[in-house]
Symmetry: C2
Subunit: 347 residues, 2 copies
């Protein structure tokens, strides 16, 4: 198994991604590393460097940039996966460019309506090895019922193969737990998923509410990319605001300062627990190969984790498992796939 | 100005609501109090008690219960408002029953497509007097573009009249700040609101993202009841999880315990700042009179605040201001209103 890695676009520079690739190589992963070779240094035997200094990570129109810049590092990396020289893709910067390059060069898996972006979210108090996977967090601006059904099966196969969650519980995000609550696509998906669940193929726990994302009610939570993106950014905002308020309170008096100092070591464990780098980033599901999109602000440890997880996804054949689950559930797309992958990016 | 209050349905019992009514009366508000009179005790001169022990607050089918139980306290309170004996409504328990009784007995304001539930959310770090108002947080399961446009104008009029925010900034919740991001209703509403804003009638700041709800980018944030309800419950869940994790960390060692003890007084100010009781609850906008729905778990201080704010809404004529804003913006509904208000509850 080989993982193709695009090193361009990371906040700390391509050298940090290269350092992550070295860490992953030490954990036994073979890497094809695309990016500005002069920033990489000595990479050892398990990392093959392809000099590709051109980056489209910050392009305002990623789909167009990907189409018109075949020499860009993300395009070369995605092409390596599309042509079978690598079995998984990691893109260090620019979600839009990664989505576009994935669609153009890796291509959608057979029978998939739309790829979705899945994010394993570490929840404090939960065992860190068992995060909650939320999808779609933003690959599509909206979704029909049949899309949500595929997201549910894709998410379950991913949690099982890549995160090691046995028989993951799948919930459908809605504005009430009752089956009659929700938008039209949610009502349609809920009815279809209840049917699949009664066949024993899927562990569907029904509608879940906003608070259940952090409440442990499900291992996989399904929503459209509009709601998922809002939920994700709201969670980040609330966490930061709360931590900032605690920090301010601790800084507001001598007594508070002393209290904060004494509390700090205990809070470190909590911060490690909810550290997003431990999850490797977001996962683009529904292509012919797994693609991982770590956050641009990650450090080497986060990039290494993304590469290790990408390799695990290839080894555990998450794409094959997804296809089998969709096929068993009768949820594969039957109509022929549109010739223009740009029309499927939902943008 | 008189406020009709339904005392049934509160977690701490009708006596706690009565205590809140007494507090509001001390602040100069005249109250009609509906509920089990034997639980109220002596209410003084400014509170008129109407014995109405029957409650439908916990009914599984609130619309039906409201229709078939004219003697229920919420129905009597809403009727007092509908008939002009009171100028605002406060309902202490059962959002579903309050929505149904409001629609049946207070009725929608002329030209309103759908009432919406608006929640002023206290944000730590912000001045407590200036919360962010999120609407709709759950009166409707979905919304069309023209509904979102009305929510924007209703929310702005509410923030100005009831919360005292001058020229409130209004944002449209979406999955990206760019105007081309969003679901179909959001794209339609965004285009219409930009047009209103260019007339100078509305201070529209464009699309805002999930993190902006707590980030101070807008004073009023507009979304459909599906997304708003998910966002609200997610915020509650994340806050509780984070505070619980800090508490656990503080309890995990002697050093942590000491630190937590020292920090506690500083954190009290923060807790007061984000105390939901200070905001009085959720506000049902779009009826002929303002209705306030405090949270069932509130104490007397929260109920008093709901009653005081309801009176302020009547005194400042939030309904008239809303109608004028909608009329100026050409956003009033033109088609005749359906005869059956149940079809408008979105449930």
């Amino acid at each position: 198994m080989v993982v193709a890695v695009d090193a361009n676009g990371a906040d700390m520079g391509a050298g940090e991604v290269a350092a992550g690739a070295r860490l992953a190589a030490q954990r036994g992963v073979r890497v094809l590393l695309f990016g500005p070779a002069e920033e990489f240094g000595d990479m050892g035997l398990c990392v093959e460097v392809i000099d590709a200094p051109v980056s489209v990570a910050k392009s305002p129109d990623p789909a167009r940039a990907v189409r018109s810049t075949p020499e860009a590092s993300i395009v070369q990396a995605a092409r390596a996966v599309g042509e079978g020289r690598a079995q998984a893709l990691v893109c260090a910067g620019g979600t839009g460019a990664a989505l576009a390059a994935g669609l153009f060069n890796v291509k959608r898996a057979r029978g998939i309506h739309r790829p979705a972006l899945a994010l394993p979210i570490p929840i404090p108090g939960f065992p860190p090895a068992r995060p909650v996977t939320l999808l779609d967090v933003g690959a599509n601006d909206q979704a029909r019922g049949e899309h949500l059904v595929q997201f549910a099966l894709m998410g379950a196969a991913f949690a099982e193969a890549v995160l090691g969650v046995e028989h993951p519980r799948v919930g459908l995000l809605s504005n009430g737990e009752e089956r009659e609550r929700g938008s039209e696509p949610v009502l349609a998906a809920g009815a279809a998923l209840r049917e699949r669940a009664s066949d024993g193929g899927l562990r569907f726990v029904g509608n879940v509410e906003g608070g259940d994302i952090v409440g442990g009610a499900a291992d996989v939570i399904v929503t459209d990319g509009f709601t998922g993106n809002i939920a994700l950014k709201l969670m980040e905002g609330v966490s930061q605001t709360m931590l900032g308020a605690v920090r301010d309170a601790a800084g507001s008096s001598l007594r508070g300062k002393l209290g904060g100092m004494l509390l700090r070591p205990s809070l470190r464990g909590f911060r490690d627990e909810i550290d997003p780098e431990g999850q490797g980033g977001a996962y683009l599901l529904g292509l012919r190969r797994l693609a991982v999109i770590p956050h641009g602000r990650f450090g080497r440890r986060g990039f290494a984790q993304a590469i290790v997880r990408a390799e695990r996804g290839a080894r555990e054949d998450v794409v094959g498992a997804t296809h089998a689950a969709l096929s068993d559930a009768g949820a594969l797309r039957r109509a022929p796939v549109s010739a223009d992958p740009a029309s499927l990016a939902g943008e």
